[in-house]
């Protein structure tokens, strides 16, 4: 059971990381990055590192995401 959950989380981690790199829409990429942090936090809990999980979720999934969104909001998009 735990093994299956582990595999599902790892595969989705790789998929989300690839999506965050490859997507052209910056806002969606940032949301993907936030989801990456969330799943990484669950992985930390499963690896018995709850200290890291707290820091990952608070700093990685919440604070950096909002800072990125504000930056995207204040900059202009230009297509080449």
């Amino acid at each position: 059971m735990l093994q299956t959950l582990n595999i599902v989380l790892l595969v989705s981690l790789i998929a989300i990381a690839l999506a965050a790199c490859l997507l052209r829409n910056l806002l969606v990429a940032v949301i993907m990055f936030s989801a990456f942090s969330l799943i990484m936090g669950i992985m930390w809990v499963m690896l018995r590192a709850p200290d890291l999980a707290l820091a990952e979720i608070a700093a990685g999934a919440v604070v950096t995401t909002v800072l990125f969104v504000i930056t995207i909001f204040k900059t202009q998009r230009r297509e080449e």
Partner: protein
């Protein structure tokens, strides 16, 4: 042609790295070199030597206190750099985009946030206070406070948030961690022990553990306040806009 070359070289490097990973000792194996020498010492004598039930905090603040102090110094320096680039003008007319919006957030969201804010602050204080016995600590508590500030600012607006947390408070508190860390570390040196061991040899053995826990708590609170204020300051500096800038753009 160039693309094919790039893909080939990247694939070669990736295959090499994966081969190296396959050669590494398997995770969590009791016979690993990292689990043989130093980890048993931490786990067996840590609680007695450091005085914390949560051994992660003990390693961070006591055994590897120097490293943590360096990390905090790096965070302070990085935040100083970010704030120097973004600018922290003291002009009263500063505003952010949510202050200009005609749409006010709904009553439900305002009430929910008003109910949640004290709980978030309480949880962050709990995380810092119990960092020595439960998972948590200064950095986590500070990050939770930072997340709470973000929620407050998004709902009640930039002006309200900067009124609640004025710049003069924040600039004062942004470097508490490094100062507190250094002072507590030096207290041990004055007492005759090593730097950052949280030991005052003059005290009797009965009070020693309590004093040590108190010193750890002071350092944790310093780190928590520092990290929270740094996150808040960077958020405000990113959000702020001044009327003069818009005028120049219009020209």
């Amino acid at each position: 042609m160039k693309n094919v070359l790039a893909v080939l070289s990247t694939g070669a490097v990736a295959a090499f790295l994966l081969y190296i990973v396959a050669l590494l000792p398997s995770m969590g194996d009791a016979g690993n070199p990292t689990n043989l020498n130093i980890a048993p010492r931490y786990l067996e004598h840590g609680e007695q030597e450091v005085g914390t039930r949560n051994i992660v905090t003990g390693v961070l603040l006591n055994y590897r206190g120097y490293d943590t102090m360096g990390e905090i110094a790096i965070i302070c320096a990085a935040s100083a750099g970010v704030l120097a680039v973004l600018g922290t003008g003291k002009r009263k007319s500063a505003y952010a985009f949510m202050d200009l919006s005609d749409v006010k957030l709904s009553f439900i969201i305002r009430t929910a946030v008003m109910f949640l804010m004290p709980l978030i602050i309480l949880f962050s204080i709990f995380t810092v206070l119990y960092g020595t016995t439960l998972p948590g600590g200064g950095f986590q508590g500070g990050a939770i406070i930072g997340a709470g500030t973000i929620i407050f600012t998004m709902v009640f607006g930039f002006r309200e948030a900067t009124n609640r947390m004025p710049a003069r408070f924040r600039t004062l508190l942004e470097s508490t961690a490094i100062v507190v860390f250094f002072l507590v570390g030096t207290a041990g040196v004055i007492g005759g022990a090593n730097f950052l061991t949280y030991i005052l040899p003059q005290l009797s053995t009965q009070i020693q553990p309590a004093v040590r826990t108190l010193m750890l708590l002071v350092v944790q609170f310093g780190i928590g306040i520092d990290v929270g204020m740094i996150f808040t300051s960077i958020l405000f500096a990113l959000l702020r806009e001044e009327e003069t800038n818009d005028m120049e753009c219009a020209r």
